[in-house]
C-alpha cells in the first residue's frame, strides 16, 4: 500500500514543456549575474519568480543551479528568499552543486542583518546533504548563541534538522545539551518551545540505543521542568501552548496537591479561543485525575461546555476532529452528554462525516430518559435523502434497541420501517429485526406477523435476504407460508448470486423440514440437489454434510441443525478494553480519529503484515462479483477473529470495509453463544472440535480436509532436544499466511523478572536479546507499559517454523504468549526455550 513513488508528473499539454524555456532563462540569468546596473534586482526578481513557478508546477529547473547561485549575491531579501527556496529544493538531488552554495550561505550566516542570518541558517540546514554536515556545525553553534532571538529560534530547529541528516554529528557536537540549557534560560518563548520540540524528538529517537538519552527524555517530564514551562504558559503562543500541554499530560504528579496546583493553573486555558489548546488542556485534566475517581467525574462536568462549543464552532473538519473525541469520551462515561443529546441532532446541510459521528453519539448517549426523543429524531433521518445516512440511522435505532431494556416503542418503530416500502429501509430493518429476535425471542410474535407480509422479491440485498431467510427457517412453525416461500426461493436457486444467501437457504429449509416435514420434503430435496451441484465450495460442502447427516439419522440431524437456542444476552463488544485504554492514552491525536492505537498505523514494522491483508481484500473486490465479495470478506473476517489477537481483529474489521461493519458483532467468534446461534455454526454444539476449522473455509481448506483422515492416536514420541536455526528467515507475507492457517498450539501467561521489565524501555531492546537466542522478531510495537511482538524461529535441521505472539505488560510484569507451530509435537519444547530466553532478558 505504499504510495506509488512516481516521478514528477509529466507536464500536461497546456503547460510549457520546459526545455526551451529553461535554456532561455539560463542565458538571461547569466547576463544578469555579474551586472551591477541599477534596476537589475527587479529583472532578477522577475526571472527568479519564473524559475520558482516552473519548479512549482513540476518542471525540472535544476539545470539552472549554477546560474542561480551566481545571481544570489544580492542584498535584496526577497531575491535571497527565492534563491534559498530554490537551493533547498534541488540540493538534495544535486549534492555536488549544493557544495557551491555552502560558501554564500555561510557568508550570509554572518550578515549583520539578523533576518538574513536566520534565513541563511535555515536554508543551510535544509540542504539535507549528508556529506555537507561538517559545514553546519559551526554556523549552528554560533546561531544558538546569537544575540537575536529570531536566529536562535531558527538555529534550534536547525539542530533538529541536523539530527535527522546525521544523528552522530549532532550528538557529538553536544547540541542536545546546549538546547537543554537554552530551554531553561532563554528569554524568548518561541526559542524555548522549539527547544522542547527538538529535544523531545531527539531524545525519543535516541532512547532506544542510549540509556542516557532515555534518562534525559524522562527528565523532560520532571517536576521542575514541567512546572517551569507551565508557569510561563501564558507567554507562549497558542501552538507552543499545545506543545507544553502535551508534555504536561504525560507528567506523573507526585501527590494530590500537585494535581490540583496544575489544574488551577490551567483552568483558564479551557476558555482559550484556539480549540487545539482547549483539547490539549482537557487531555491534561483527564490524565492527571485518572486515579481520583470523584475528581475525574467533576472534570467531565467541567469540560462538557467547552467541548460542546468546539463541536458547533469552526469548520466541519474541526467539528469532525472534536466529535471523534467526544465519541471516545462518551464510550468511557456515557452519562456526560446524556442530557445534551440535542446538540447531536444533525443539520440538513452538514457533511456526511459529521452526521455519521453525530449518529454514533446519539446511539451512545441514549438512556432510559431520552431514548424516546432520540429514536424519534433518528426516525426522521431514516427518510433522509442521503441514503447512507438513512441506513446509518436505522442501524442506530437497532443498536439502541439492543442496548435498552424497554424496547416496546422501538420495536414498533422498526416494524414501521418495514412498512415504509423503501428498499434500503426494508433491507436494514430486516437485519435489525433478526438481531433483535436473537436477543428478545419474546417479540417473535409481533415481528413475524409483519415480516411475513414482506415479499421476498422486494428484498435484494444479500444481508437482508439472508436475514429474512433465517427468520423463515427459525420461525417456520409460526409463518403459514414459510415452506412455500422457501420453495419459491429454491426454484430460483441459480439466479441467486450470493453464496451467503444460498447457505442460509440450505439451513433454513432444513429447519423448516424438521418442523413441518410433509410440506417441506420436496423443497428440501430440491435444495440439497441444487446445493450439491453448486460451484461454491462452502455451499457444496454444507449440502453434502446435511445430506449425510440426514442419511445417518434424522433426529441427530435435527439436534445438530436446529438445537434449542438461548437468547443472546450481550452481543460481543468489538473492541477490547485494553485497546480503548490505549486510545484514551493517546487522546488528542489521530488514534482517536482512526479509533485504533497509534502503533497500528504508524509503526512500519507493525503495518507490514496488514498491508498484505488489505491487499487481499482488494484483490477479492477486483476479482469477483459484488455478491461474492461480501462472503469472501466475511470469511476473511471470521478467519481473523479466530486466529488473530483482539488488537488485530480491529484491523481486520476495518479492512473489510463498511459492508461488514454492522454485522461485525454477530460474526465475532469470540463468543461461542453468538456463533452458535448463527445458523452457519450449528454443528458447533454437537461437535466442539469442528467450529474452528469449519469457519476457516477457503483459506484453511487443508485443515478441513485433514479432518477426514483419522487422526493418529499414538502418543507423540518424546521430543528430541530442540535446536533452533541461528539465522532463520521468514518474510512477513509467509508469516501472516502461516499465522492464519495454524491453530494455536500453546497459550501461556508468564511473569517477567523485574530486571527484564527494567530493561524493557523500548521494543528494540528485547528484539536484540531474543535474536541472541535464535528467535527473530518480525514485527513489534507499542509503548510502555504495553508492548507487542511477533517472533518466529526455525528448527535447525528442517524448515519447520514456530510463530509466537507475545504481549508484554511492563506494569504488571506479565507476558502473554500464543505459540503456533508447523510441527505441533515440539511446541512445548519450543515454549521452554522461549521462556528461558525471556527470563534471561535483563539479567546481566
Amino acid at each position: 500500500m505504499a504510495p506509488p513513488a512516481q516521478s514528477q508528473r509529466s507536464p500536461s499539454p497546456s503547460q510549457p514543456s520546459g526545455k526551451s524555456e529553461v535554456s532561455d532563462l539560463k542565458s538571461q540569468l547569466r547576463q544578469l549575474a555579474g551586472s551591477r546596473a541599477p534596476g537589475v534586482d527587479d529583472s532578477k526578481r522577475d526571472l527568479f519568480k519564473k524559475v520558482i513557478s516552473y519548479m512549482t508546477i513540476g518542471i525540472d529547473v535544476s539545470a539552472l543551479f549554477g546560474e542561480m547561485v551566481m545571481c544570489s549575491a544580492t542584498s535584496d531579501i526577497v531575491l535571497k528568499k527565492m534563491c534559498y527556496l530554490y537551493v533547498g529544493n534541488y540540493a538534495k538531488v544535486n549534492p555536488d552543486l549544493a557544495l557551491l552554495t555552502i560558501n554564500f550561505l555561510q557568508k550570509d550566516c554572518q550578515d549583520q542583518d539578523p533576518m538574513i542570518r536566520g534565513l541563511a541558517l535555515r536554508s543551510l540546514c535544509s540542504l539535507r546533504v549528508a556529506n555537507l554536515v561538517e559545514y553546519l556545525v559551526g554556523p549552528l553553534g554560533l546561531g544558538l548563541k546569537d544575540s537575536n532571538s529570531y536566529v536562535r529560534m531558527v538555529a534550534v530547529i536547525g539542530v533538529l534538522k541536523l539530527y535527522h541528516i546525521s544523528a552522530s554529528t549532532c550528538i557529538d557536537a553536544d547540541f542536545p545539551v546546549i538546547l537543554k540549557n537554552l530551554m531553561i534560560t532563554d528569554s524568548d518563548t518561541q526559542v524555548v518551545a522549539n527547544c522542547l520540540s527538538a529535544l523531545q524528538e531527539i531524545w525519543s529517537a535516541e532512547a532506544s540505543t542510549s540509556e542516557e538519552a532515555s534518562r534525559e527524555r524522562e527528565g523532560l517530564l520532571s517536576k521542575p521542568i514541567v512546572y517551569f514551562l507551565l508557569n510561563k504558559i501564558r507567554e507562549f503562543n497558542e501552538w507552543a501552548q499545545c506543545l507544553v500541554l502535551e508534555l504536561a499530560a504525560k507528567y506523573v504528579p507526585s501527590d494530590n496537591n500537585d494535581i490540583f496546583d496544575i489544574m488551577n493553573l490551567l483552568e483558564d486555558r479551557l476558555q482559550h479561543a484556539n480549540g487545539a489548546v482547549v483539547l490539549a488542556t482537557i487531555k491534561v485534566f483527564l490524565h492527571l485525575t485518572l486515579s481520583m475517581t470523584d475528581v475525574h467525574q467533576q472534570v467531565y462536568e467541567r469540560i462538557k461546555a467547552p467541548l460542546l462549543t468546539l463541536v458547533s464552532s469552526g469548520s466541519p473538519e474541526q467539528s469532525y476532529a472534536v466529535l471523534s473525541h467526544l465519541h471516545l469520551l462518551v464510550m468511557r462515561a456515557p452519562f456526560i452528554f446524556s442530557s445534551d443529546y440535542k446538540h447531536f441532532y444533525c443539520q440538513y446541510n452538514e457533511p456526511s462525516y459529521v452526521k455519521k459521528l453525530k449518529l454514533e453519539m446519539l446511539t451512545a448517549v441514549a438512556n432510559e430518559s431520552n431514548t424516546y426523543e432520540i429514536v424519534t429524531e433518528l426516525c426522521e433521518y431514516a427518510a433522509n435523502v442521503d441514503i447512507p445516512i438513512a441506513r446509518e440511522s436505522i442501524r442506530a435505532v437497532g443498536k439502541i434497541a439492543l442496548q435498552q431494556y424497554d424496547v416496546n416503542a422501538i420495536v414498533d418503530r422498526l416494524l414501521q420501517f418495514l412498512e415504509m416500502e423503501k428498499d434500503y429501509v426494508t433491507a436494514e430493518a430486516l437485519v435489525l429485526v433478526k438481531d433483535l429476535l436473537r436477543k428478545y425471542p419474546q417479540w417473535s410474535h409481533d415481528c413475524i406477523a409483519v415480516v411475513g407480509n414482506i415479499s421476498s422479491k422486494n428484498v435484494q440485498e444479500p444481508k437482508a435476504k439472508a436475514a429474512l431467510i433465517w427468520m423463515l427457517g427459525e420461525y417456520s412453525q409460526d409463518m403459514q407460508d414459510a415452506p412455500y416461500i422457501l420453495e419459491g426461493l429454491i426454484e430460483s436457486w441459480d439466479e441467486e448470486h450470493s453464496a451467503e444467501v444460498r447457505l442460509h437457504l440450505l439451513t433454513a429449509v432444513m429447519k423448516c423440514f424438521f418442523k413441518r416435514p410433509p410440506e417441506t420434503q420436496k423443497a428440501l430435496g430440491a435444495a440439497l440437489a441444487a446445493g450439491l451441484a453448486d460451484f461454491h465450495q462452502d455451499v457444496h460442502d454444507r449440502a453434502l454434510f446435511y445430506y449425510r447427516l440426514l442419511q445417518h439419522n434424522v433426529s441427530v440431524a435435527e439436534r445438530v441443525v436446529n438445537p434449542p437456542k438461548q437468547a443472546v444476552s450481550v452481543f460481543a463488544d468489538t473492541q477490547s478494553s485494553e485497546i480503548k485504554d490505549r486510545i484514551f492514552d493517546e487522546f488528542n491525536s489521530l488514534s482517536v480519529v482512526y479509533q485504533k492505537p497509534s502503533y497500528m498505523f504508524t509503526d512500519k514494522e507493525h503495518r507490514g503484515p496488514f498491508e498484505f491483508s488489505e491487499e487481499l481484500g482488494n484483490l477479492s473486490i477486483a476479482g469477483e462479483s459484488a455478491d461474492n465479495v461480501v462472503s469472501a470478506q466475511r470469511v476473511e473476517a471470521n478467519d481473523k477473529d479466530l486466529l488473530l489477537s483482539t488488537s488485530e481483529k480491529e484491523e481486520a474489521k476495518i479492512s473489510t470495509g463498511n459492508d461488514s461493519a454492522y454485522s461485525a458483532p454477530m460474526y465475532d467468534a469470540s463468543s461461542v453463544l453468538v456463533t452458535a446461534s448463527q445458523t452457519l455454526m450449528e454443528p458447533a454444539i454437537s461437535n466442539p472440535t469442528l467450529p474452528g476449522q469449519a469457519t476457516q473455509a477457503i483459506l484453511a481448506i487443508d485443515d478441513l480436509l485433514g479432518l477426514g483422515i483419522p487422526a493418529a492416536p499414538a502418543p507423540p514420541p518424546p521430543p528430541p532436544q530442540l535446536k533452533l536455526h541461528t539465522r532463520a528467515v521468514l518474510d512477513p507475507a509467509t508469516f501472516q499466511q502461516k499465522w492464519r492457517q495454524l491453530p494455536v498450539a500453546l497459550s501461556q501467561e508468564y511473569s517477567l523478572s523485574p530486571q527484564g521489565i527494567a530493561a524493557l524501555t523500548a521494543p528494540q531492546a528485547l528484539l536484540r536479546h531474543m535474536q541472541g537466542h535464535s528467535i527473530q522478531c518480525i514485527a513489534s510495537g507499542g509503548q510502555s507499559p504495553n508492548f507487542k511482538f511477533f517472533f518466529f524461529a526455525q528448527k535447525a535441521e528442517e524448515p519447520s517454523n514456530y510463530l509466537v505472539e507475545c504481549i508484554i505488560n511492563s506494569s504488571s510484569a506479565k507476558a502473554q504468549m500464543k505459540i503456533k507451530a508447523d510441527d505441533q509435537s515440539t511446541s512445548q519444547a519450543f515454549s521452554d526455550i522461549f521462556q528461558s530466553a525471556l527470563s534471561k532478558f535483563g539479567v546481566p
Binding site: P3, R122, Q271, H272, A276, A305, Y348, E380, Y594, F601
Partner: protein
C-alpha cells in the same frame, strides 16, 4: 508533538499543485499523487477529512476552489492541524485583502512561499499572527525591518514581537481620532419539528472589535451576563439590578484577554490588538428569542398537485426590521409548474435546488406575510414512492437585535495619556442553520 507536518499542498479542484512545501523527508517523494489517486479521483472525496494512505495520514480541507492538504507520518494532533490550516488561511487572506482562491494563490505564490517558511519550520507551527508577520514580510518585499534603519533602535523591540510574548500589539501606535467599534454578531440555530415544537435551538455569538487606539490602552467590557453581574453586585455588596441577565453556557476569549482576571473578577479586561479581531465567542442554549416563526402547511393533492402555504411571523420589536430574508421551501424534483401569491416580497421557483425561493428585502417586526403556492408535478411511473420532505431553510439578518438578549453595559478605555475615545456598539442577529421541518 502537536503537528510535525511533513508536507503541505495547495491544489486546485482538478488536482494541479498550486504550491507545495515539503518540510520533512519522512514521506515519500510525491505524496500528492497518492492524494489524487486515492481521494480526489474516488468517491472518497468529501466523505472524511482525515484519511490514511500507505503510512501517511492526509488532512484536507476545501476552501473556495482550493484544497489544502497536510501530510503527516506520525500520530499527529488532528485538531491542531486543522486549526493551523484555518489560521494560515486567515493569514493569507489578510495579506491578499479578502479573497483566498486559486487566482489569489497564483498571483501571490512567492509571498506564500515566504509565509510558509515562517509559519512552520520543520513541521512545527511557529508564528501565525498577521500583526507580527506583517512587520517583516511585506507584500512589496522591502528589506527587513531590522536593517532598514540600522541607526534607529527598534531592533530589540521588533525581535521580541517577531518571536515573542506580547504578540498581538505593537508599541508606539498613534491615531488622531481614537475609536473603538464593537459588534455583537449572533447566529441563531434552530431545528423545529413538523409539529411546531422546538427540537434544538441555540445561539453562537461573537464579539468583533475594531480598535484604532493610540499607545497601550487597557479596555474593560461589561455585559449583562449573569455571572458577571452577580460578581459585581457581590463586590459592591449591593443587590443586583433587576432586568434581564443572560446565562452564557460557554465563553472563549481572544488571547489578549486576561483570563486570570476573568476568572477571579468576571470582568473582561484586555489590551487589544491593533485593527480588527474577534474578542470573544460564546454559546447560549437557554432563553433564546427566536426572531421568526414559520408556519408551513403543505398538502399533497393527489399525485400531480401540491398546495403550499407558508406564514412567517416576525416576533421582534415593531420598530426593528430584518434584512435579506430568504425562505427556501423545498418542492419535489418533478415539479413542472408553480404559481404564487405573496403578501410581501417576491418568490420564484429555483429548479437547481428544487426549492421555492421567497425573498423579502425588508421585513418589519410584528408582521406576518404569507406565501401560498400551487405546484404541479409531472406524474411519474414510480408509484408510492413518497417524497421525503427536506426542511424549510431560512436566512436573515436582524440589526439591533440579539437573540440571546445580550447587551453591552459598558466599554471603558484607559490609557496613560488619558485621551478621549469614541465607542461604537452594534448588534446583529443572523440565521445560522434555521431549519423547519414540514
Amino acid at each position: 508533538m502537536p503537528v510535525a507536518a511533513s508536507a503541505i499542498y495547495f491544489l486546485n479542484l482538478r488536482g494541479d499543485v498550486l504550491i507545495n512545501r515539503l518540510y520533512r523527508d519522512d514521506v515519500g517523494g510525491n505524496m500528492v499523487d497518492a492524494f489524487r489517486m486515492h481521494i480526489m479521483q474516488t468517491k472518497e472525496l468529501g466523505t472524511c477529512p482525515v484519511r490514511q494512505i500507505g503510512g501517511c495520514s492526509f488532512f484536507y480541507m476545501r476552501i473556495s476552489n482550493v484544497y489544502i492538504v497536510i501530510v503527516v507520518s506520525s500520530n499527529a494532533n488532528v485538531a491542531c492541524a486543522f486549526k493551523f490550516v484555518v489560521e494560515a488561511v486567515n493569514l493569507f487572506k489578510s495579506y491578499f485583502g479578502g479573497a483566498f482562491d486559486e487566482d489569489a494563490i497564483r498571483n501571490n505564490f512567492v509571498l506564500i512561499y515566504e509565509l510558509l517558511d515562517e509559519i512552520m519550520d520543520f513541521g512545527y507551527p511557529q508564528n501565525l499572527s498577521p500583526e507580527i508577520l506583517k512587520l517583516y514580510i511585506t507584500q512589496e518585499g522591502v528589506r527587513s525591518p531590522f536593517s532598514s534603519k540600522p541607526s534607529d533602535k527598534p531592533v530589540p523591540n521588533a525581535t521580541l514581537q517577531v518571536t515573542g510574548a506580547v504578540g498581538w500589539r505593537r508599541e508606539g501606535l498613534v491615531y488622531k481620532k481614537n475609536e473603538v467599534f464593537l459588534d455583537i454578531v449572533e447566529s441563531v440555530n434552530l431545528l423545529m419539528s413538523s409539529k411546531g415544537s422546538v427540537l434544538r435551538c441555540d445561539v453562537t455569538g461573537k464579539i468583533l472589535m475594531k480598535c484604532f487606539l493610540s499607545g497601550m490602552p487597557d479596555l474593560k467590557l461589561g455585559l449583562n451576563d449573569k455571572i458577571g453581574l452577580e460578581k459585581e453586585s457581590q463586590l459592591k455588596s449591593r443587590p443586583a439590578k433587576s432586568g434581564k441577565t443572560i446565562e452564557l453556557d460557554d465563553v472563549t476569549f481572544h488571547q489578549c484577554v486576561n483570563l486570570t482576571r476573568f476568572n477571579s473578577e468576571k470582568t473582561v479586561s484586555f489590551v487589544p490588538p491593533d485593527g480588527e479581531f474577534e474578542l470573544m465567542k460564546y454559546r447560549i442554549t437557554e432563553g433564546v428569542n427566536l426572531p421568526f416563526r414559520v408556519l408551513p402547511t403543505i398538502k399533497e393533492l393527489g399525485r400531480t398537485r401540491m398546495e403550499v402555504n407558508v406564514k412567517v411571523k416576525s416576533v421582534f420589536g415593531a420598530k426593528m426590521f430584518a434584512l435579506g430574508v430568504v425562505i427556501k421551501i423545498p418542492v419535489p424534483k418533478q415539479t413542472a409548474k408553480t404559481s404564487f401569491q405573496v403578501t410581501s416580497g417576491r418568490a420564484k421557483y429555483n429548479a437547481a435546488i428544487d426549492c421555492l425561493v421567497w425573498k423579502i428585502r425588508k421585513f418589519p417586526g410584528q408582521t406576518e406575510p404569507t406565501l401560498s403556492a400551487e405546484v404541479e408535478l409531472i406524474s411519474t411511473m414510480t408509484e408510492k414512492k413518497s417524497w421525503t420532505r427536506p426542511p424549510i431553510q431560512m436566512e436573515f439578518q436582524v440589526p439591533m437585535f440579539t437573540a440571546s438578549g445580550l447587551r453591552v453595559r459598558f466599554l471603558k478605555v484607559w490609557e496613560k495619556s488619558g485621551y478621549n475615545t469614541v465607542e461604537w456598539v452594534r448588534y446583529i442577529t443572523k440565521a445560522g442553520s434555521y431549519e423547519i421541518r414540514c
